[in-house]
């Protein structure tokens, strides 16, 4: 349900950030869109929440949002977790914009670690919160070296990591932040979304923007960009299909969270995307 916009609190500029900072971030975003997958440095501002809670995403949202926008914020797919609720309320207060939990109604979706199950549409903008933007970081600690590797498309080390996965686990065990090649050029960290969501990046009709607040980097996927998940010929990329169905809506198609619900260790699986799950329940009730 879309919340009606309230009057923004006095004393704040629209959407909290000053206009100069917003312009600076928008310039960075334009550059990021122009070079898909390339990490653009920007002057990250201090925001009223700690690093690691979405300072990058919140700055991107603040620089883009207009009074007409409808904002949805999810955290691991859920609209009702502390982080998601806080960020949504923050923008309601400092920008007076309308918010929603429905993917279809939203013009901007700020997300931590998921892409909604409901297919995105042209004109929608996804804003990802990114902890570590550099996909090569875990194998190459030097920033100058990774910058050079990107500049020369020298991505052999990325496969070294996947090779190690197969050595240790017998299959590519990277199940989130799974590296992708964008537009045949840059290797990009899609932020810690599950690899289940990786295929949704490919040729998405929505604009995808990534903001890393602590690391001060922006990157982007323009709509309809080719995104290929890295793999080996004999160990191709594949997504894990859930073995169970959602305990609430019965979906076998969506990404499920596993919950332990009592002291006896009983497990239940439920959709991580709460909006998708509730929509299915409502549709079932309407049909009955």
């Amino acid at each position: 349900m879309a919340n009606m916009s309230e009057t923004p609190q006095p004393g704040y500029n629209f959407a909290y950030l000053d206009e100069g900072s917003k312009r600076m971030i928008r310039r960075g975003l334009l550059k990021a869109v122009a070079i898909p997958g390339f990490q653009v440095p920007f002057g990250g501002r201090e925001m009223p929440l700690p690093y690691g809670w979405g300072t990058g995403g919140i700055q991107v949202t603040a620089s883009l949002i207009t009074p007409e926008d409808v904002l949805k914020v999810i955290d691991q797919g859920a609209d009702d977790t502390t982080n998601a609720v806080s960020i949504r309320q923050f923008f309601e207060r400092v920008a007076g914009i309308a918010s929603t939990t429905r993917t279809r109604e939203a013009t901007i979706v700020q997300t931590r670690h998921r892409i909604p199950e409901t297919p995105l549409e042209p004109g929608q903008i996804m804003v990802f919160q990114v902890p570590i933007p550099e996909p090569l970081r875990f194998i190459e600690p030097s920033e100058t070296e990774t910058a050079t590797l990107h500049a020369l498309s020298d991505y052999g080390v990325m496969h070294v990591k996947l090779y190690e996965d197969i050595v240790r686990h017998g299959h590519i065990a990277t199940c989130y932040a799974y590296p992708v090649e964008v537009n045949g050029r840059y290797v990009m960290d899609p932020s810690p979304i599950p690899r289940f969501d990786n295929p949704r990046l490919h040729m998405s009709p929505a604009l995808m923007l990534f903001g890393a607040g602590r690391e001060r980097r922006l990157y982007a996927l323009p709509p309809h960009t080719e995104v290929v998940s890295l793999d080996f010929e004999d160990y191709p990329f594949e997504i894990q299909r859930p073995e169970a169905a959602c305990a609430i809506c019965g979906s076998t198609e969506s990404y499920l969270d596993e919950l332990i619900v009592d002291d006896a260790g009983t497990r239940r699986h439920v959709c991580s995307d709460t909006d998708y799950c509730q929509a299915r329940v409502k549709a079932r009730e309407a049909a009955a």
Partner: protein
């Protein structure tokens, strides 16, 4: 050859040209041409006035005391440290490539395909946190190999070449001994079939029995794969065993060069004489 040959015996120069020139075809054409390379950090610190030619299949030893500029020269030759003056050219098939005039992309591609670099400390040349197999496969993956099974086959084959037990393929170099690490580093460099390998004290810091084993291995690999090697060492015994030709460095300059046996048995420059006479006799 353009080597600054022993000043004392100008006649020796023509004799020294024989080993390379006598060969025909591909082997008669130089692989690396170094013209008046200079890289100085202070007066006589670094290297200067260095010119020489390296032929395919040749092992060139670079000896001298510490601080004489051996490692600086090696870095300059191997594309890691641009010289203040002079140029380094490498023959890639029929074309000559000016190392520092070429772009960084080309230089890096060369370094990990046709060239190799064996560091003195294997920690610098290996990825210590990934398995031996991944260390060997990295160059191939950088060249676009995307088949896990074949990468593994290749890694096993190279472990055999450098005499490491195949069962260790999934262990990280952290668990290897110093000698094994050095052998793994050699395998990691040779897997791409390089033509030219740079070695900076490959046996430094290893105990004597391990040193002997590595030298033996290197000698066999150089023969088997017909490698050209530029080898920095301060150990004349290593030079005697591996090198066809020696250059003696002192205070940033090459003071004497020639065939290894000739230099070690009949040193002409006072510094070389001192160096040779200072070998400990047991």
């Amino acid at each position: 050859m353009n080597v600054r040959l022993r000043d004392a015996q100008p006649g020796a120069a023509s004799q020294l040209e024989v080993p390379a020139r006598a060969l025909s075809g591909e082997k008669a054409r130089p692989l690396l041409q170094v013209d008046d390379v200079c890289r100085l950090f202070g007066p006589e610190q670094g290297c200067q006035e260095v010119s020489f030619t390296l032929y395919p299949g040749e092992v060139l030893g670079l000896v001298g005391e510490s601080g004489s500029g051996k490692s600086t020269l090696l870095s300059t030759l191997s594309g890691r440290l641009p010289p203040d003056r002079g140029r380094v050219r490498y023959r890639d098939g029929a074309d000559w490539l000016d190392l520092y005039a070429a772009g960084e992309g080309r230089r890096r591609a060369l370094l990990r395909t046709q060239w190799g670099f064996v560091e003195q400390n294997p920690r610098d040349g290996l990825r210590m946190s990934v398995s031996a197999g991944a260390n060997i496969g990295e160059r191939l993956m950088a060249q676009g190999a995307r088949h896990y099974g074949r990468l593994r086959q290749c890694a096993l084959e190279w472990l055999r070449h450098v005499e490491i037990d195949a069962a260790r393929i999934d262990d990280t170099p952290e668990t290897f001994s110093g000698g094994m690490r050095q052998r793994l580093q050699i395998a990691r460099n040779l897997v791409s079939g390089p033509r030219l390998v740079f070695m900076d004290e490959p046996t430094g810091g290893l105990d004597v029995s391990v040193q002997a084993r590595i030298l033996d291995l290197l000698r066999n690999l150089v023969r088997e794969f017909d490698l050209s090697v530029i080898l920095v060492t301060h150990d004349l015994a290593v030079a005697r065993l591996l090198a066809d030709r020696l250059m003696v460095m002192r205070r940033s300059r090459i003071v004497e060069s020639g065939l290894t046996d000739q230099i070690l048995d009949d040193p002409q420059h006072p510094y070389t004489q001192l160096l040779v006479s200072s070998i400990l006799q047991v």
